[in-house]
């Protein structure tokens, strides 16, 4: 067991974890924050994307033990966040989700795009999204939603 001290969505947590426990499983099974999803468990699909110290990371290939001392924000932790509020509304209006499984990871990645790359155009948005797979939407609504939030934030 490894000791872990971590902040998740503003809450300080101390826990003993098996070294092999992924950050994703710690969040889902131990903290019961089930909005973070597992789609491939090898770092390709992006469903498990969370913020670690403000930057998006794959929680499926990050061991919880290695995340010691970090601040994690999961999809459940963005209630006071302006870009996330904008994205949620835009995803809703642009039919950017169907089954909803990729959505939490997609939103965390999208938030990174709209905050880090304010000038991104459609090609750039698509490139930045390449690491988040959606099997339902064909990405049309997702790309439109992100472009609309970028536009909103430029005004």
């Amino acid at each position: 067991m490894t000791e872990l001290s971590i902040n998740i969505n503003g809450e300080h947590i101390k826990a003993d974890v098996e070294p092999r426990l992924s950050l994703a499983d710690f969040i889902r099974d131990r903290q019961r924050l089930t909005g973070t999803h597992l789609g491939c468990e090898h770092g390709v699909c992006g469903a498990c994307t969370v913020l670690m110290n403000g930057e998006p990371v794959r929680s499926c290939i990050t061991f919880a033990a290695v995340a010691d001392g970090s601040e994690i924000t999961t999809i459940e932790g963005f209630d006071q966040d302006e870009p996330m509020a904008q994205l949620r509304q835009a995803f809703h209006e642009n039919h950017a989700l169907q089954c909803g499984y990729c959505t939490p990871g997609m939103l965390v990645a999208a938030r990174d795009i709209v905050t880090r790359l304010p000038d991104a155009d459609e090609d750039r948005v698509r490139l930045e999204l390449a690491g988040n797979l959606c099997r339902c939407t064909g990405y049309v609504g997702i790309v439109k939603a992100i472009l609309s939030v970028l536009e909103q934030r430029r005004i």
Partner: protein, 271 residues
Amino acid sequence: MKPAKFEHQRMASLDEAVKALGNAEGETRVLGGGQSLGPMMNLRLAQPDVVLDLSKVEGLDGIEETGNAIRVGARVSHARIEDGEVPGKTGDYMQFVATGISYRSVRNRGTIGGSVAHADPSADWPSALLALGGSVTAAGGNGIRTISLDGFTVGPFSTGLGWDEILTGFELPVLGTDANWGYYKVNRKPGEFADAIGAVTLGVEARAVCGATESAPFRVTEIEERLASGVQEVSIAEVRDILDRYDAGFDDYELQIHAVALSRAVQGAFA
């Protein structure tokens, strides 16, 4: 898809890590950002007994220019390089390479040192840095050692690091402000591993690398000679002929895309 059991040792310093590596029993792996090792462990393709976690070790994440070299710490993330933290023309080249590695959420954790030490043949840094030149620094039981990047990658998942050594950083050449460089990757999708890499820099010397091979990336001296003599274009057919003389184990398609990558890297260098 969960990893096998292992012992996690959180290292506080490089000294501690080197000692731990020297004393470790069973298969021991050094964990940088974990973006290559993590998936392999989840798939149980890697089942180390001990994982030495370097994430809290200080002094591995610096970037500094020292006269005619740029020092880049092993734990510098791809994302920091993508964001332009490496200065000058060398930084421009490395920024271009970093931007094409996997996805941003992987680049935030993945490290340049981890990538080179892991030595996946289809990863970017082993090829890109070979084309840049310079050296690797490593710490081991016998102290700090500098190893030339030429020949550092020995084969798939195999490097010149000793069993008790940890890669700590790189000393890379400063490309002059008018130096040309080109980098071209053939892959199926953005972020996917490369099927072929062509990398060219024209610093103090001309370097041209054929990468993402079955084994280690290699320098293509015929092309370097041409570049050194002022040639600014090498056709795909010419590169094919040249590469065909190397014993790289390419089938026809692989030969073709490696020729494309190198030819286009040259083209990019003078675009």
